[in-house]
Symmetry: C2
Subunit: 220 residues, 2 copies
């Protein structure tokens, strides 16, 4: 089995790889807040364990084995977040840090029970998909709120980042997953959007905020 630490590295590689299919030492270092030489030596360890493919001065990629193990930790993380929100009454802005710890608990029964009590959920409280028991994860194709045009009507489906600050900003504005949003206008200069939802008075969201919100076209 892998250590707690190795699991956190695997997860970080997995998340960074989602975009480009690979991750480099520098990004991992920033993401994990661990200095580059430390990351570098861990890359060698993970390569020895056949969890990643690593060649000097090249970005790393997860092996099939590494990818599966990463996905299974993410599964435990997201099931935990869902359990904390649905069964224990936490807010979506309060659960990431706790899940970051509980994801390392070794007990398949524990997570199987959560899964069952939750009714085998497919997404976590932030709209991210929960990988299945085999580590298979299916991303529905959402697009960024940013990329919408004036007049579009969309459904808020997921957030791409789950920092406290960001989620609290959404809380204050009563923006939740499932909210139907109408884009009233987009500021050409800085991308600030004015949107309307829930029969509230129009709300303005910065480009940075809109970049972290994923939406689907309101069809079905």
């Amino acid at each position: 089995m892998n250590t707690h630490t190795e699991e956190n590295y695997l997860k970080a590689i997995y998340n960074l790889s989602a975009v480009k299919g690979e991750a480099n030492v520098n990004e991992l270092s920033r993401h994990l807040e661990i200095k580059m030489p430390t990351v570098n030596s861990m890359m060698k360890r993970l390569a020895d364990k056949k969890l990643i493919v690593y060649e000097s001065y090249k970005p790393v990629r997860l092996t099939t084995k590494g990818e599966k193990e990463a996905a299974l930790i993410i599964r435990k993380h997201r099931l935990t977040e869902m359990f904390l929100v649905e069964k224990m009454g936490f807010g979506w802005d309060e659960v990431h840090g706790i899940a970051e710890q509980i994801e390392h608990v070794q007990s398949s029964d524990f997570f199987a029970k959560m899964d069952e009590l939750l009714g085998f959920p497919k997404i976590d409280p932030h709209g991210s998909p929960i990988p299945d028991k085999n580590g298979k994860m299916e991303w529905t194709e959402y697009h960024k709120l940013n990329e919408c045009k004036t007049g579009d009507i969309v459904i808020f489906k997921a957030v791409t980042h789950s920092s406290d600050d960001f989620l609290k900003l959404l809380n204050v504005r009563e923006l939740q997953l499932g909210t139907i949003i109408k884009i009233k206008s987009v500021e050409a200069f800085d991308g600030t959007m004015t949107i309307e939802y829930n029969k509230r008075k129009p709300e303005m969201l910065s480009h940075l905020v809109c970049d972290r919100i994923l939406v689907a076209n309101r069809k079905k």
Copy 2:
């Protein structure tokens, strides 16, 4: 803060101290399944951190600080066990190993929420008292089933050990906390007890089993 490992040592010292007020290296070594020299060096670390008083070749004792920190971990352990049984549907024989991991989670909110959802329980699924937020624990004075005499009628209140095997043995015999037990006879030779409860046919329990069962006189 203390590491995961230090917390486990503190807890072990606390539990061993319950009997004699102190713990020696040898017992700790056996209990934690860690070799004596390792325990010895940890004793020095804990002493440096003012969590125990340690003098060479003498048993160790927890300081007030150490005792409080140990009790707070035990609090987290027992709240977790209670939560797993009451809110997640686990058996009392399945929860110790999971709680052994979750007790190290750092989030006062998480355990406060468990406590609240459980209605601020005073005992865990094995009948052991849950220390309060200040680390204060009150042991009700129970006695061992072993010490009962023929004709006594008592209530099953707690177990002193929570190994799978032992708890499963009790499961099979439908012996649960709260069960009212009548002692039919005690074998003089080996201390085997014949008991009656729940209108079942009489059941025989070995001395070793009776030594791990705590009971109260059936009065109030």
